[in-house]
């Protein structure tokens, strides 16, 4: 589903590479943690998958398609197959929960009928049924992140990218969010989650890829956050 093949990326020729010869592959339906210190290259991986950046060298294939050679007009179609969730939720404050989720369908030209079936469905999945008419400021952080997850997966993408999705949440709420992500993963969506949260990684026992200074230093099934544990 996601395939990196000797990918290097440098933002500036003089500074060191953000990613250096990174290769990994995530299968359909896999759940992968991307761990590592700040500046280790986690965000660069996510930006490359979304094709917000192109690699300096190497090949990236998403769902079998080369992202590097993709003409820019096709990029939106690539992104329709990828859901993305961030630490800061990125909701529209003047729209209701329903409208925030529907927005993702609206701007890719989906019909009103599609919205009225897909949006309640996905809100049910993330556990927000009954809160459609609330505004983001009326929700807790955990609920806001659920809205963001609902928006990311409403179009049923094959891949869900999560960049520190629990970074702003307390441990209990984080666990709830992880339960939602796991549920989505069980439905067949490949989940790639960049995180600092060792507890979560240790509890989930999923595949862990660790980055350090742009290199993959560890890639283990059912791994933990730190090598020692």
């Amino acid at each position: 589903m996601i395939k990196f093949d000797s990918v290097s990326k440098s933002y500036d020729a003089r500074t060191r590479k953000a990613l250096d010869d990174v290769s990994f592959e995530a299968q359909r339906g896999e759940f992968v943690f991307l761990v590592g210190a700040s500046g280790s290259g986690k965000s660069t991986v996510i930006r490359l998958i979304l094709r917000e950046e192109v690699p300096s060298s190497g090949r990236i294939h998403i769902a079998g398609k080369s992202v590097v050679k993709m003409p820019s007009w096709k990029v939106p179609y690539l992104r329709r197959g990828i859901g993305t969730v961030f630490q800061d939720f990125r909701l529209l404050p003047n729209k209701t929960v329903f409208a925030n989720v529907a927005f993702a369908l609206q701007v890719i030209g989906k019909s009103r009928a599609a919205m009225s079936t897909l949006v309640p469905d996905v809100l049910e999945t993330v556990g927000l049924a009954g809160k459609e008419k609330r505004f983001p400021h009326e929700l807790s952080g955990g609920e806001q992140q659920r809205v963001a997850i609902a928006r990311a997966v409403v179009n049923k993408p094959g891949i869900l990218l999560a960049d520190e999705p629990t970074g702003n949440l307390d441990p209990a709420t984080s666990a709830d969010i992880m339960a939602v992500l796991e549920k989505i993963n069980r439905n067949g969506t490949t989940v790639l989650m960049a995180t600092h949260d060792g507890d979560i990684v240790n509890r989930m026992r999923k595949r862990v890829i660790e980055l350090s200074d742009g290199h993959i230093v560890r890639d283990v099934e059912q791994g933990t956050y730190g090598v020692a544990s």
Partner: protein, 304 residues
């Protein structure tokens, strides 16, 4: 669905940036008013040229019954003198310069005079007997008018040689200068309008960066993201262009048709019909200008 969404984005954008949109409308309005004025001036020049150049270029006016010109001391030009003049005009000496000759008698002269000043205070002021008979001469080269003038300067029976074009050319000169001034002002104003549109779109894109960021993330196409901004600029500028066409129409209706035409100029002046022709040009200029500056700005500020 899509059209409805884009439209609602456009409306909200226009409302959020109301003061900027208003300034775009006003600047476009003023600049296109000058463009329209320049076009109308040139249409006026063209109309007059069409009318006159095909007709006569030099008029050799013959002595009327009473004239104070030294060549007319013997009174009205005789048949003999007329025959001499015609002979000279058709003769070999002037052949390289003269293209066509046409004799206008008193009845025709009077009729033309009446037509020309129809509806003005001059209509009917000169009786037919007092009109000049004349040879109307079309030159091969309009610049060689002096030769004809010299040639007949002392010919008995010729009152005056008048080059119609020279009178017109002076007028055309004034109109052309006015056109250049109008175009120059319009150019500066159009540049202002383009920069203003660029700034407006930057502001608009900045105030909606949250929305556009999410739109990009969930895979909205570039066109879909940029179209509302583009339409915002284009609509504002189209409104300005429409206003300028309307103002031009009012100016022509009250200023030219309502006032200048009554000042007995004797020319056909531009009218409301010509404004109808200019209006789509102005709107097209406004739309293209706004579209171009929007696209350039958008490619800079809302990249994928």
């Amino acid at each position: 669905m899509r059209a409805g969404f884009i439209l609602s984005e456009v409306v909200s954008g226009l409302r959020k940036n109301f003061s900027m949109v208003l300034s775009v409308i006003l600047v476009t309005f003023v600049s296109l008013l000058f463009v329209g004025a320049a076009i109308l001036l040139q249409m006026q020049v063209g109309q007059m040229k069409d009318y006159w150049y095909d007709r006569v270029q030099v008029s050799v006016f013959l002595c009327p019954p009473s004239s104070e010109a030294p060549t007319c001391v013997d009174g009205e030009a005789t048949e003999e003198q007329k025959a001499d003049i015609r002979e000279s005009l058709e003769g070999s000496e002037l052949a390289p310069y003269v293209d066509k000759i046409y004799f206008e008698d008193k009845a025709e002269a009077h009729q033309h005079f009446q037509e020309q000043f129809e509806g003005t205070s001059l209509e009917g002021t000169v009786p037919q007997e007092d009109m000049n008979e004349s040879f109307r001469v079309k030159l091969k080269d309009a610049e060689k008018y002096e030769i004809i003038k010299e040639y007949f300067s002392a010919t008995p029976g010729v009152e005056e040689v008048v080059d119609q074009n020279q009178l017109l050319d002076r007028l055309f000169g004034v109109l052309n200068v006015a056109t250049v001034v109008a175009v120059a002002i319009a150019g500066v104003m159009l540049l202002c309008a383009m920069l203003l549109i660029a700034t407006t779109i930057r502001l608009s894109a900045f105030s909606r960066r949250r929305e556009t960021g999410i739109m990009r993330l969930v895979g909205a196409s570039n066109t879909f993201i940029q179209l509302p901004f583009l339409l915002e600029g284009v609509i504002a500028s189209a409104i300005g262009a429409t206003l300028s066409a309307g103002a031009l129409g009012l100016l022509v209706h009250f200023g030219v048709t309502g006032w200048l035409q009554n000042q007995a100029t004797g020319f056909n002046l531009v009218s409301g019909v010509d404004v109808l022709f200019v209006a789509p040009i102005l709107i097209a200029i406004g739309v293209i200008m706004a579209g171009a500056s929007s696209l350039i700005t958008l490619n800079k500020y809302t990249k994928v």
